[in-house]
């Protein structure tokens, strides 16, 4: 077992970028994704042959094939010509590999956009150049803002179908300014493109000589993946305590005791002081293991096992951190994206999973429903499918939550039904500890 001085970044490149798309069927979203896959050479001969064949049988007469068929995978979708659930697609360049969450854009499928955007580094919002910024566009931008997606790009599709593309581009750009301001987010970059013809999707096109910017892919290639906490704020929810004792695969490890987890932010190095959030107890990092390999330092995004200098009381569900770690609280205010057909009422008994801990919780109050397209709030005492509501929660046991605005990982939780085990809601902590 050698000790390396770096994280095991044995490859400088490629990196991984997670992207989600938002837009409606009619905006040409599946076609755009098909185009990204096709033009990055991520569609292989047999897939394309199957799509060409299916296109012909459906009466497609355009160039190439109906690239939307590459992504509309399920039988019901092909029959209805719509996308009914999040599908994941993969494409790669020399620089980067992309995981693309293709999320349906109809109002009733808000839950899918929340799903796709929750892990995304970037959301690409489609706008049809013929229609400009619609209520749906505002909803997609607002959801991306609510979920704190680090980057948002507007893909102005079907630019080939408008009379004065330059004017449309300018109009859409100016329509986005007040929306971004109201959401307190940076104004998204806008790329004019034609998914059908491939203009400005992977390569910049002579068809838009008035546009001097990068293609959509060139922009994606240059985005830094998001970080949401200063680098010094190390966080690792403990998944397992690894104590092989007599079962160790090697007798040298009978006394091994390690705390396994995924580093959600910051970095950790041997010799660093770490805090157990629940008890406030501090100790130092004696060793960092990645499987059988020992390293001196590990970064956010890696799964590691930490050995600690002192025997501290740490178990699954605890949070290890450095610097200022969140104090566990029993109450919080939060925004819930309600994802269940069964409505939420005040007084509901639920389960909350935050980090690696799941606790019983009570929805003590429902304050208002957020109309994110209009940026207004309506007082309410219940929530229906796809509603976004501000609530107060009481936990049966203290949880070290942070506000979602300061940390996506520290502020995110899911709400589960204790009876039927379904996932009821996505939750984002607003103010921890608010009564």
């Amino acid at each position: 077992m050698g000790t390396s001085t770096l994280t095991p970044g044995r490859e400088a490149a490629p990196t991984l970028l997670r992207l989600a798309t938002a837009g409606s069927v009619d905006d040409g979203k599946s076609t755009l994704i098909g185009r990204l896959l096709h033009d990055t050479k991520s569609v292989l001969a047999d897939q394309l042959a199957a799509v060409e064949d299916a296109s012909r049988r459906r009466g497609w007469t355009g160039e190439l094939a109906d690239l939307a068929l590459l992504t509309d995978g399920l039988r019901a979708e092909r029959e209805q010509g719509i996308t009914i659930d999040v599908a994941y697609r993969y494409f790669a360049t020399a620089e980067r590999s992309y995981v693309l969450a293709d999320t349906p854009g109809h109002v009733e499928y808000t839950r899918n956009m929340v799903t796709g955007a929750s892990t995304a580094d970037v959301v690409v919002v489609l706008v049809d150049a013929r229609h400009g910024v619609l209520e749906q566009t505002r909803r997609h931008l607002a959801l991306a803002a609510l979920l704190r997606v680090p980057h948002v790009i507007v893909a102005l599709n079907k630019i080939d179908l408008v009379e004065d593309p330059r004017q449309v581009y300018a109009d859409v750009s100016s329509q986005l300014l007040p929306v971004a301001e109201a959401l307190s987010v940076p104004v998204p970059a806008v790329v004019p493109l034609s998914a059908l013809h491939g203009d400005n999707v992977v390569r910049t096109s002579a068809a838009t000589p008035w546009y001097q910017g990068p293609s959509l892919l060139e922009l994606l290639e240059s985005l830094p993946p998001g970080r949401d906490l200063p680098r010094d704020r190390f966080r690792m929810p403990v998944q397992l305590v690894i104590r092989p004792q007599q079962g160790a695969r090697d007798a040298a490890h009978v006394d091994y005791r390690g705390y396994a987890g995924l580093i959600t932010s910051g970095a950790v190095a041997v010799g660093d002081e770490v805090v157990v959030a629940a008890s406030g107890r501090t100790t130092t990092v004696a060793g960092i293991d990645l499987g059988a390999e020992t390293v001196s330092r590990a970064e956010s995004g890696l799964s590691v096992t930490l050995r600690l200098a002192d025997e501290v009381d740490v178990s699954r569900g605890d949070l290890l951190g450095s610097g200022v770690v969140p104090t566990p609280v029993q109450t919080t205010s939060a925004v819930l994206a309600w994802l269940s057909p069964a409505p939420l009422r005040e007084g509901a008994r639920v389960l909350v999973k935050h980090g690696t801990r799941t606790v019983h919780a009570l929805v003590t109050a429902i304050h208002e429903r957020l109309d994110i397209a209009r940026l207004t709030q309506v007082p309410t005492t219940s929530a229906d499918l796809n509603d976004l509501v501000r609530v107060d929660l009481q936990f049966a046991e203290p949880l070290p939550v942070e506000s979602y605005s300061s940390s996506r990982d520290g502020g995110a939780f899911i709400v589960l039904d204790p009876q039927d085990a379904t996932t009821l809601a996505a939750g984002m902590v607003e103010v921890p500890g608010r009564e």
Binding site: T7, P8, G9, E11, A12, P14, T15, L16, L44, D46, Q47, A54, T71, G73, L74, R75, A76, D85, V86, A87, Y88, R89, Y90, A92, S97, R111, N112, T115, S118, V154, Y169, S173, S174, V187, P188, A189, V190, G213, L219, P224, Q239, L240, I242, P244, G247, R249, Y256, L262, D289, G291, G301, L302, S303, L351, T356, A412, I414, L416, A421, A426
Partner: protein, 312 residues
């Protein structure tokens, strides 16, 4: 006029981050650890094929230096390549895990299943799998499925619920948010867990190279007697007898997937080591299933139909 033309030069450069394989490995290890932390009786599907070998390697890494705390299960079609079965047994011994075998042949012998007219046995694996899950009361089944393999798999969750009949309902999947997995279920239900969801075939091969993972020999180029059928090179054996008009010839081939011998085809290849395979996969213009799996060609929605019935 106002325009929002993106300016690439304005984007800050980031400090170095973990690379692609590090991130994929960390995600898979995290998923395996979540299941071990939250469920009582997991099992890992293990055929000796490359994806399941990578998955077992990741499990060993996730729990090191403790042993892998769950058994592995092989649903044996009875049509497996002997060298893969040998490799399976050797690997199980090396990792120190218990092996359960659910045998399709047993089901054919006692009449619980009957052979299909086309002779393929992959669709017959579902019933023995579901019976094994019920018999051992497994509550989580790790599978090596990847979302890039098939259009229906592209819609699959990382932690995917199956009802008491093992069925998957693609229209009624739980939303999967952030990296917070819901592993809870009602009595009789179980979850299928796919730690390699976000890996591509090329990622798997690059990881095999990086970690120096041993594989069955038929993943590398070797001489083999094959017959050409529907554009695929099939290994003639007891289960895929050459037809009248087919003439077996010796070719230099390798397998991109190993499954039922009667419907898993080899590809012409001279790639005798992992670097050569990576170069070949990177340059390939045919997806791994399209080139090699007759059963996925049955219909445009073949995989979706099998998944709904409980296939992995």
């Amino acid at each position: 006029m106002t325009t929002l033309t993106p300016d690439l030069s304005a984007l800050a450069t980031e400090p170095e981050r973990p690379g692609l394989l590090d991130v994929l490995e960390a995600e898979a290890v995290h998923i395996i650890r979540e299941v071990v932390g939250e469920l009582e009786r997991p099992v890992m599907l293990f055929s000796g094929g490359k994806d399941s070998v990578v998955m077992l390697h990741l499990a060993a890494k996730a729990l090191w230096p403790a042993p892998v705390p769950f058994p592995v299960l092989h649903v044996d079609t009875g049509h497996n390549f002997p060298e893969v079965l040998e490799f399976r047994d050797e690997a199980v011994g090396r990792y120190g895990v218990d092996l359960h075998v659910a045998s399709v042949q047993d089901y054919l012998d006692d009449g619980r299943l009957s052979e299909r007219p086309d002779g393929t046995r992959n669709p017959l694996q579902t019933l023995p799998l579901l019976d094994a899950i019920a018999e051992h009361r497994f509550d989580a089944v790790f599978g090596g499925g990847r979302r890039d393999e098939d259009k229906a798999r592209a819609k699959e969750r990382i932690v995917s619920l199956r009802n008491a009949f093992g069925h998957w309902d693609p229209k009624n999947q739980r939303p999967e948010l952030w990296h917070l997995y819901n592993t809870r279920r009602r009595p009789g239900e179980h979850v299928r867990v796919f730690p390699l969801s976000n890996w591509t075939e090329l990622d798997v091969w690059r990881y095999i190279a990086r970690e120096d993972i041993a594989l069955p020999s038929l993943y590398y180029a070797h001489e083999r007697e094959v017959v050409e059928r529907d554009g695929m090179l099939l290994s003639p054996g007891d289960w895929a007898r050459p037809r009248e008009d087919e003439h077996p010839t010796v070719r230099t081939v390798r397998y991109r997937t190993v499954g039922d011998m009667s419907c898993t085809g080899a590809v012409p290849s001279s790639a005798r080591d992992v670097e050569a395979v990576i170069a070949e996969v990177a340059a390939s213009t045919i997806t791994e299933r399209g080139a090699t799996r007759a059963d996925d060609r049955l219909s445009e929605a073949a995989m979706e139909d099998r998944k709904k019935e409980g296939y992995f």
